[in-house]
Symmetry: C2
Subunit: 286 residues, 2 copies
């Protein structure tokens, strides 16, 4: 499946040449998705034993390898919506699909490439992460109408340096700046996200950067037992939110219930399916 | 070299059964070190091209594999001192060797096991990290006379939870508590260390936990070119120290000059060779 990897190389070049929010980048993402899906459709599917209440998972299989766990319902929901989602993104008409449809179509597109790589390469964690970062970054770029930066200047009396960051979308003076970390899954390293937000709050002033984290899922597959669990640390997230910094949104393509429940505690952490981003992002700056 | 891996299994058991600061753990560490050194002495040494000013590095080689970079001077200095260091640690007579001798002997002991694993296993990053964590944790335990905890209770009005942490050494009421993260190298993930310190400061009050980070080195080896560089981000450390939390000490077994220079800027970050820990740790609580 040379086309998938050629597509990924072209995606990297297009991002550099035309910018992350460009039509060229969108075309690459769509092509990569289509070839990935075509490849996966040539593989067998196996049901996984889901230990996650209310969710079913499956995986694709090729010889001895199996992919990461795929949420069956979200995947199936996404299948007839992918073309419509790409078209909506291309025309920047984000209200043509509702939040759940957007979430499902984005989930399908992201996980198809990641799963293809799971089968076609060995131990490659990096390109799925990079693809997902570009994909989410592209959607933010299209929606906000600007390309992101990945570093910002720090000016502090006699110190002068550059701070490398996750994506920063700067809407201009007197307008919001978005801080967007992107992770396929978080685990114990997620404290970094809150720490980067705190650094931005400290260096530039609280409220200047609106932190929104975008994640794919928190599943973990036992490849011998063919069992899927979700690994969530909600109590720790609450401590991070109270003692390190405030994240304005946590978006998921396959949202764990354990994090969804953080919307109902006090003080709450707003965790939502990613599709809501498209309609609510403007209101987050108010 | 079955003895090395058997020794490591026994180390894990001894830690569970007798505690990290126990004589049994010390014996395991010493045995692992001795077998590792014996194995390495049967391998060829190759000089690496050091791009680090003022430092020479070499590696051991076995068939097609080479070890991580080893600081030649510190390693050679450590060779005649290892037995004396282990004996000083056993008898808790830490002033028998000066700080540089302690640093060198500890460096030799830690890097010998890590290098043996580099040659004997493929892609095993985890056991070198665990061994190093146990080794440094053991030295703290012997020096402070108590075993560490790896989690602490959080009590906050109607919330009750447990926070998993790096090593915490609690000297008891009205005395200091040490927060000890241990890393073989730090890179961009080091922001976690400051974030954990901030969490402890926030949850329990600033000043209650004294943060000391212990690291081995910051070298990176290009295994094709056989070149060694150090990867350091001192400007970012300064931002972490100013905007996230205050670390009281950063100890290194092979200290990069770029971080050593942080002692000379204002506000300074105290970065020191690890051997100083043994004599100065009591004064850090004042």
């Amino acid at each position: 499946m040379k086309e998938i990897f050629d597509g990924f190389e072209k995606l990297k070049t297009s991002r550099r040449e035309f910018g992350l929010g460009s039509d060229e980048v969108l075309r690459c993402i769509k092509t990569i998705f289509e070839y990935s899906l075509q490849y996966l459709n040539s593989c067998n599917r196996i049901e996984l034993k889901s230990k996650v209440e209310g969710k079913r998972y499956f995986a694709f299989k090729s010889e001895k390898k199996i992919t990461r766990a795929i949420n069956s319902d979200v995947y199936e929901t996404g299948l007839p919506l992918a073309d419509k989602m790409f078209e909506a993104v291309r025309r920047r008409c984000f209200d043509e699909l509702d939040a759940d449809s957007m979430t499902a179509a984005c989930y399908l597109s992201a996980i198809s490439y990641c799963s293809a790589v799971d089968l076609l390469k060995s131990g490659d964690q990096k390109t799925p992460g990079t693809f997902f970062e570009y994909f989410i970054g592209h959607l933010y770029s299209r929606r906000l109408g600007i390309d992101p930066k990945k570093k910002i200047d720090v000016l502090n009396l006699d110190m002068q340096s550059t701070l490398p960051t996750d994506f920063i979308f700067d809407l201009g003076s007197n307008r919001a700046k978005f801080h967007l970390p992107v992770k396929t899954s978080t685990r114990e390293r997620v404290i970094q996200v809150w720490a980067h937000q705190r650094l931005l709050d400290g260096v530039y002033g609280t409220g200047r950067f609106i932190g929104t984290l975008a994640c794919m899922a928190e599943t973990k597959t036992d490849k011998k037992k063919l069992e899927v669990v979700e690994i969530c640390l909600p109590a720790q997230w609450r401590l991070y939110q109270m003692y390190i910094a405030q994240m304005k949104r946590i978006y998921y393509l396959d949202m764990p219930d354990a994090y969804g429940r953080l919307n109902t505690v006090f003080p709450k952490i707003p965790v939502m399916p990613f599709g809501h981003f498209f309609s609510e992002i403007d209101s987050l700056t108010q």
